[in-house]
């Protein structure tokens, strides 16, 4: 355990050193300033000694020490703060990038559904630079350690009886633990109200919510909710603080009584000449500091603990990433063309944390070169099928074969480079339009780059999205998203078409998945798109590529080469449209339901 913690401290210090050796050192200068500060009772003793024994050099040493600590303390402090803040930012940035890398390059999506992973991640992502703060905590821990150590040394040097006051530290420890536990409990107690308060405040500024609230006459209701939750949110902290103050009052009174006893004892000796006035001076002045010794030590533990917890989270994530990478160590390159197609053999899959199997013992062959439609009701397993084919999830049982190679043996990165797709829950990339589309086919290598504008324009054309581009004030250079001052907000359909454009940048993928990408589009656009899909599918099929279309719209389904009907995680029916209609089963029923609207 100790070894693990030392490694954590080492990790933070090493990172800091790599980023800036000088700043790493300067940041600790604050601690030096603090040593001088806590030596003051000693300096006072020297002064009194100098004055009572008429020794100039003692006086000079004492006054010089105080003057030096006072004047240089600020200088050291300022330099330290500057170094600390700068390092904070850079270390935070370094680890933020690492965390994003771990999350973004993990082969599957499992981790994003894993509650344990999400808890760890939540703490790290809550704010930018959480690990920068870990470094800050380390410095704070050192700063807090310096004070009690110096104080104890000074007190012991003046009079050993003073150390008896440390005994009061025992109840004080209990006090500090209590206070910390109360704070912890306040944090827990306020969490739900905090989230609710944030949600309600967010509704007030969200344009859609603001619209609803106005129409439904619920603006005052919202204000009442905001007020109530904001009060509830902070109240537990105030209560914990009040209880802490009450307890602290008791502990302080106890301390004052003990300190009075010790000082009276010392004064008695001093009046009888058994100890010098100098020692007595140091004693009087160090008493106030001794009271904080236990508190400071506890702060050190607190800060160290905070830092170690944060680093532990990070290391947990890093290990998680390594384990995940090791589980997907396939290196076989994806084939250049499909001959047989894609096959699922006895595949079962259950989402992490879910009780129900999303797919159960599924056998399915997707022949090379075909356009295949997948239909089924909500929850039938359509998106899951796509997730498994693109390696987003690992099957629980059975196997997914690319021609005859199991997907596990392939390099997932390489396989995905041969896939493309658009989804209903597509990313609204608030970047420039060029970037939002161009990420659809980044060049491989260490410095990935956006493809040429011609290719992007062609892809947008394939996605029937040229008019989306035409409506943008600066063309491909337009920044998208209303979060940015010059950003242009797009409608749902426009975002959707950009997402389809992104899917069209890759030429002739071996697997093109279109997971309900047209739900927000009007019929004419959908029609135009479908024609282009067919064209794209033909190009795709030349390399044996499979095009998989998931849709609710049966009009689209009918012209596919093959239709697969999923129900309850398994294949209910499959065949051509004509075959399925003739069979008069589930497909024919659903088809009839929708077609009826057009007769």
């Amino acid at each position: 355990m100790i070894r693990y913690h030392l490694q954590s401290i080492g990790l933070v210090l090493r990172t800091s050193w790599r980023i800036s050796p000088s700043a790493t050192l300067i940041a600790f200068l604050e601690a030096v300033g603090r040593v001088l500060q806590y030596l003051r009772p000693l300096f006072f003793g020297l002064i009194v000694g100098g004055l009572t024994t008429h020794s100039l050099h003692l006086l000079v040493l004492g006054v010089g020490g105080i003057a030096f600590s006072e004047s240089c303390g600020f200088l050291l402090g300022t330099a330290g703060v500057q170094a600390r803040v700068g390092l904070n930012e850079r270390i935070g940035h370094h680890f933020d990038a690492e965390v994003a890398r771990i999350s973004g390059t993990a082969a599957t999506l499992d981790h994003l559904q894993d509650p344990q992973y999400r808890d760890q991640m939540h703490a790290l992502r809550e704010r930018m630079g959480a690990l920068g703060m870990a470094y800050n905590s380390l410095i704070n821990a050192v700063n807090n350690l310096v004070a009690p150590v110096t104080t104890i040394v000074v007190a012991a040097g003046a009079d050993l009886r003073l150390l008896l006051l440390l005994l009061i530290g025992v109840p004080a420890t209990w006090w500090a633990n209590r206070t910390m536990r109360w704070e912890q409990r306040a944090e827990d107690a306020s969490a739900a109200a905090g989230r609710r308060s944030k949600h309600f405040s967010g509704l007030a500024v969200d344009p859609v919510a603001a619209s609803e609230l106005r129409i439904f006459g619920a603006r005052n209701l919202l204000l009442r909710l905001v007020g109530r939750e904001a009060g509830e949110w902070r109240k537990p902290f105030a209560q914990a603080e009040t209880r802490g103050a009450a307890l602290s009052t008791g502990v302080t009174l106890l301390y004052v009584v003990a300190a009075t006893g010790i000082l009276v004892w010392m004064a008695h000796d001093a009046l009888h000449g058994r100890i010098s006035a100098a020692r007595f001076t140091t004693g009087v002045l160090v008493v106030g500091q001794l009271r904080d010794v236990v508190g400071s030590l506890q702060s050190t533990v607190h800060f160290l603990g905070q830092m170690l917890r944060t680093v532990k989270r990070y290391r947990w994530l890093a290990e998680y990433g390594e384990t995940a990478a090791a589980a997907h160590a396939g290196t076989t390159a994806a084939p250049e063309a499909l001959h047989d197609g894609l096959t699922l053999r006895g595949v079962s899959f259950r989402y992490p944390g879910s009780e129900r199997e999303a797919l159960h013992d599924l056998d399915l062959h997707l022949p090379a070169g075909e356009v295949i439609a997948v239909v089924g009701e909500n929850g039938a397993g359509k998106s899951t099928l796509i997730g498994l084919l693109t390696g987003m999830y690992d099957v629980n049982a059975g196997s997914v074969l690319v021609d005859s190679t199991p997907l596990q043996q392939l390099s997932l990165d390489d396989w995905r480079r041969h896939c493309s797709g658009a989804f209903q829950d597509h990313l609204k990339l608030e970047l420039t339009a060029r970037e939002a589309v161009g990420v659809g086919d980044l060049s491989p290598g260490v410095a990935p780059a956006i493809p040429s504008d011609e290719r992007l324009l062609a892809a947008l054309d394939d996605a029937a999205a040229s008019d989306v581009l035409a409506a943008l004030p600066d063309g491909l250079d337009t920044r998208l998203g209303s979060s940015w001052p010059s950003g242009v907000e797009l409608s749902g359909g426009q975002w959707q078409r950009l997402a389809i454009g992104r899917a069209m940048v890759r030429r002739s993928p071996l697997l093109l998945v279109l997971d309900e990408p047209t739900s927000a589009l009007d019929p004419a656009t959908e029609h135009a798109l479908f024609d282009r899909y067919s064209a794209a599918a033909k190009a795709t099929s030349r390399a044996g590529g499979v095009t998989l279309i998931v849709t609710h719209r049966f009009s689209t389904v009918a012209s596919a080469d093959r239709v697969i009907v999923l129900a309850d995680g398994t294949v209910a029916e499959q065949g051509t449209h004509a075959e399925l209609m003739a069979a008069g089963g589930r497909y024919a029923q659903l088809y009839g339901l929708q077609a009826a609207g057009y007769r």
Binding site: T78, R125, A596
Partner: protein, 615 residues
């Protein structure tokens, strides 16, 4: 300077408003801290003198010293408790000021303006951040330290006013330098740097989100995103670092000057002590006084936080004043009054021209649309033709540049009651972290109608929205919170949510709305659920004017009348059958969708009947 005074006065005024007794108590505590320090310094000096003189007076002074020594930490502890109590009220007030600012304007233009929106977000982020929730503690710590510094000042001034003033000057130099340095630090953190930093934060957060995880992997975007993150982050920070290191130079010079001045004070006191003009006890008191005066100097993080607290309080004020609102909260307005009209409402759009501020081209030019009370109208048109804009105009969320919008003769852009006659369910409706009951019956809950009275309406609305199974899933518990993050909370699927949202609009109708606007109400539903909703469409919408916006022409045809919007305004207007006969864009669109079915082979009558039964 005047600006500074204004900011300061406003800050104190708001603090005072949030709780008078606590502010008064905090002042008393601060005074006690200053007094305790002075007592400790003065009596410890006297006690030492007595000890050096071997005098029994030492006992009395020793007791006073200990009292001072004990009173300081006590006052500090209670200052903390009182400041957190104040914080609770202060945060509540700030949150309300901000929410009320977003809430008060009649329209929503201010929320769609990215600059204003960014200001809201900035303040909100501060309020919820570490600095925001600890602001009062920091502010009162600074004041408490100020009092301590004054205690030290008094102890020094008892010996020599010039030294006391000289030292004060030194610490003020230090304070000014330090504050100047922090000001630079702050400005960068909260103002100039924010866009670049927000962009960087956006880029880094993408790989962490669950949404988009598929595309991120499929396209192998992470390495590229991280490179962009590093670039954007570096660009955002380079300027900050440069400014900061320039500021540091000034700060170091200031610290040196102040340091030399302080050395002067100590030498002065040391010299007086050596020459005997200052007795031993007084020397110790004076030196302690000098030391405690450092509380008047730099105070590190607390000062930063205290300055931030003022900065953001002023930000809230200026945001509110830019929106035309008072600096303080208005008196309680209570619940909105009931809608005074009943029954279906007529909708009249006459000669409306509307242009978004960010765009040059108007969305509509002279748009005319008149809907008699009780009619159901479907609005169709290609993406981007302005269907959503039309809805917002009907709801009075935007005011037209020219022309008029009237709901039963009243202007929804001016009259809140007229607007509440328009029950709308938007495509991206809101998922409230509240109970199922409130999510469904929001329009009634907002009027303060009690649970018993609204349960029946809510139940009926949910059933009409084909949402009976939602209630079944929640074991008939209307109090279930529809968000998994809370105790007993649960999540609904997209389709279930859509039915809850639809029920919400139906409740608004029950509450007196005369127009029902449905924007793609079945986008997240599967075939069966959609068919179920539309099978009851006519029944549910009886007695109300209905405006349906949908791409699915199979659902659109249920409407009494269909209006086709084009770039030039209303292109076609008639019943489904009329428009099919007349030919034109609607007929083309409908045939296009229908043709997909036709092309796939005729549907056998038997199947169609089966479909009819199951619907």
């Amino acid at each position: 300077m005047r600006r500074w005074v204004g900011v300061e006065r406003h800050f104190w005024r708001m603090m005072w408003r949030s709780s008078r007794p606590l502010v008064a108590a905090l002042f008393a505590i601060a005074a006690a801290r200053g007094l305790a320090i002075w007592l400790m310094i003065y009596s410890s000096g006297q006690a030492l003198q007595a000890v050096a003189d071997r005098s029994d007076r030492a006992w009395g002074w020793l007791v006073l010293t200990v009292i001072g020594l004990g009173a300081s930490p006590l006052a500090e502890a209670w200052q903390g408790a009182a400041s957190y109590a104040l914080q609770t009220r202060f945060t509540r007030q700030q949150t309300l000021l901000l929410a009320e600012a977003a809430n008060a304007p009649h329209g929503i233009g201010h929320l769609e303006n990215s600059e204003t929106r960014a200001r809201f977000n900035d303040i909100e982020e501060y309020l919820r951040g570490m600095f925001g929730v600890n602001a009062m503690y920091a502010v009162w710590s600074v004041i408490g330290y100020g009092a301590v510094g004054l205690g030290g000042f008094a102890a020094v001034a008892q010996w020599s006013w010039p030294v006391a003033l000289w030292t004060l000057l030194a610490f003020r130099v230090l304070h000014a330098t330090w504050t100047g340095y922090l000001d630079v630090l702050l400005k960068d953190l909260v103002e100039d740097g924010s866009i670049g930093r927000r962009q960087a934060d956006y880029l880094r957060s993408l790989p962490l989100e669950r949404a988009g995880g598929k595309e991120l992997r499929l396209f192998g975007m992470t390495p590229w995103l991280l490179r962009r993150y590093a670039e954007v982050w570096r660009a955002a920070f380079t300027g900050i670092w440069q400014r900061r290191s320039r500021a540091l130079r000034g700060a170091l010079i200031g610290c040196t000057v102040a340091g030399i001045m302080l050395v002067g004070s100590y030498v002065w006191a040391g010299h007086a002590a050596w020459t005997g003009s200052l007795a031993v006890g007084s020397t110790v008191a004076v030196l302690q006084g000098l030391m405690q005066m450092s509380s008047l100097g730099a105070l590190g993080d607390f000062n930063v936080q205290a300055i931030r607290a003022r900065f953001y309080e002023n930000e809230i004020r200026s945001l509110r004043s830019d929106l035309g609102l008072a600096a303080t909260l208005p008196e309680r307005t209570g619940t909105p009054r009931a809608i005074d009209q009943r029954g279906a409402a007529a909708v009249d759009v006459t000669g409306v021209t509307f242009t978004y501020r960010s765009r040059a081209e108007p969305v509509f030019r002279g748009l005319d649309l008149h809907i008699p009370a009780g009619q159901s109208v479907a609005v169709v048109g290609v993406n981007g033709v302005g269907k959503s804009t039309l809805i917002k105009l009907l709801c009075g969320l935007y005011a037209p540049d020219a022309g008029t919008v009237r709901i039963d003769g009243r202007d929804p852009a001016l009259d809140d009651a007229a607007r509440r006659r328009v029950a709308t369910i938007f495509q991206d409706f809101v998922r409230y972290h509240l109970s199922l009951e409130t999510n469904v019956a929001l329009p009634l809950v907002a009027r303060g109608i009690d649970e018993q009275a609204l349960r029946h309406t809510a139940d009926e609305a949910l059933r009409d929205a084909a949402g009976a199974d939602v209630l079944t899933r929640l074991d008939d518990d209307w109090a279930t919170i529809l968000e998994p993050g809370y105790a007993g909370g649960t999540d609904l699927s997209g389709g279930q949510w859509q039915r809850v949202a639809l029920a919400r609009a139906l409740t608004a109708v029950a509450a007196g709305a005369g127009v029902l606007v449905l924007d793609e109400p079945t986008a997240a539903l599967d075939v069966r659920a959609e068919a179920e909703i539309f099978s009851r469409f006519l029944e549910v919408t009886r007695g109300v004017t209905t405006i349906l916006v949908s791409h699915r022409l199979s659902s659109v045809r249920h409407a009494d009348r269909i209006v086709v919007l084009g770039p030039e305004g209303v292109v076609q207007d008639g019943t489904h059958d009329e428009l099919l006969v007349a030919g034109g864009p609607y007929a083309d669109m409908f045939r296009l969708q229908a043709a997909r079915f036709a092309a796939a082979g005729a549907v056998s009558d038997q199947n169609a009947e089966m479909a009819g039964e199951s619907a």
